[in-house]
């Protein structure tokens, strides 16, 4: 017999049986399908929530470092405002007069600088000086101590 003429049918084997799956298989498949759909929905909902939170965090936090990095003058001004508020909340009686005078002198210098249209390079050290004086005043007001000048 030539090999190419061989076939299962030619071998006259008993008919190949067909098989039925177990009766409960569809119920198992349906349950698994439902479970996967549920998990998919949970994952999508969780991912959506995480994305919203991430976006909210970025929106809330991103502008500050951008301003700080891009504009050191704005950063010093904002810091100065924060110190001013903190100092206003403390007892003014404990502040030594010379420190108050020093603060007024720095503020006058700042005002004059702005009046003549000074460059940022000139404004930055003045704002930094105002912040230093304010910080010093806050420490003194909190401790009730006197500044020591050398």
């Amino acid at each position: 017999m030539a090999e190419q003429e061989l076939s299962l049918k030619a071998l006259r084997l008993a008919a190949l049986p067909e098989f039925d799956p177990p009766p409960n298989l569809w119920a198992r498949i349906e349950a698994e399908h439902h479970r996967r759909q549920q998990r998919g929905r949970t994952l999508r909902w969780g991912s959506g929530l995480a994305a919203m939170l991430a976006l909210a965090t970025v929106v809330a936090l991103a502008p500050r470092p951008q301003i700080a990095a891009a504009n050191p003058l704005a950063q010093l001004e904002r810091r100065s405002h924060e110190l001013e508020l903190a100092y206003a909340g403390l007892s003014q009686a404990a502040s030594p007069l010379e420190s108050e005078a020093e603060l007024r002198a720095v503020e006058l210098a700042l005002q004059q600088a702005y009046d003549r249209g000074a460059a940022v390079d000139e404004l930055l050290p003045l704002w930094q000086q105002r912040n230093d004086v304010l910080s010093n005043l806050i420490v003194l007001a909190a401790d009730g101590a006197q500044p020591t000048r050398i």
Binding site: M1, K9, R12, F19, D20, L25, I29, E32
Partner: protein
């Protein structure tokens, strides 16, 4: 719808009405169940013949119908639905054989190197074609089932296995010859007409 004679034998050629298909595409569970009722038997039978284990065949049916429920939205009707599902079943069976490293040996010589001769063949086995099929190496059994029972051409088998057509022809020829040897003492072999495929 074109149906090969083999498809009508295996049940994958059963027609599905357009309404059921449309409902299934929309995710209708009743339509999915109707498709299962039509095709679970041919799907399970094909898996049983290739894998020889009911547990493995159940896994295949589960995989195929889970995939079907997700993928049916993208089924465009270019091929008959049964043919589409049969392809999914064959792919799932191949994946399972690969995962068990049953498809490692490509060389036809090596493939049949460890296949036993008639030793251990019981008289009852000689006419139990399922028992005989399971004696063949998994890759040879797969090629035999796909070509002889599911109507795959050697061209399709070559694409499926990434081999030449002569590769599947060689394995098929050896498989049939081995079956003939196992049957020789018990069976009178008569040639009968068989639909020729390339």
């Amino acid at each position: 719808m074109n149906m090969t004679p083999t498809e009508s034998r295996t049940g994958f050629a059963q027609e599905v009405d357009a309404v059921t298909l449309a409902r299934a595409r929309r995710g209708d569970g009743t339509a999915h169940a109707a498709l299962y009722r039509i095709f679970s038997r041919p799907c399970f039978t094909l898996a049983m013949r290739v894998l020889g284990s009911s547990a493995a065949a159940e896994d295949i049916v589960q995989d195929v119908f889970l995939k079907m429920m997700d993928a049916i939205r993208s089924y465009r009707g270019d091929a008959p639905f049964g043919a589409w599902l049969k392809r999914m079943t064959v792919n799932a069976a191949i994946d399972q054989l690969r995962s068990q490293r049953h498809l490692d040996k490509d060389d036809p010589e090596r493939l049949f190197a460890n296949v036993s001769d008639t030793t251990g063949l019981l008289a009852s086995d000689a006419h139990d074609v399922m028992a005989l099929l399971q004696r063949l190496p998994p890759r040879a059994r797969l090629i035999l089932v796909l070509h002889e029972l599911e109507g795959y051409t050697h061209k399709e088998l070559a694409e499926l296995f990434g081999q030449t057509e002569s590769y599947s022809k060689s394995i098929l020829s050896r498989s049939l010859k081995r079956l003939q040897e196992w049957l020789a003492p018990n069976t009178v072999v008569e040639m009968q007409p068989w639909p020729s495929r390339s």
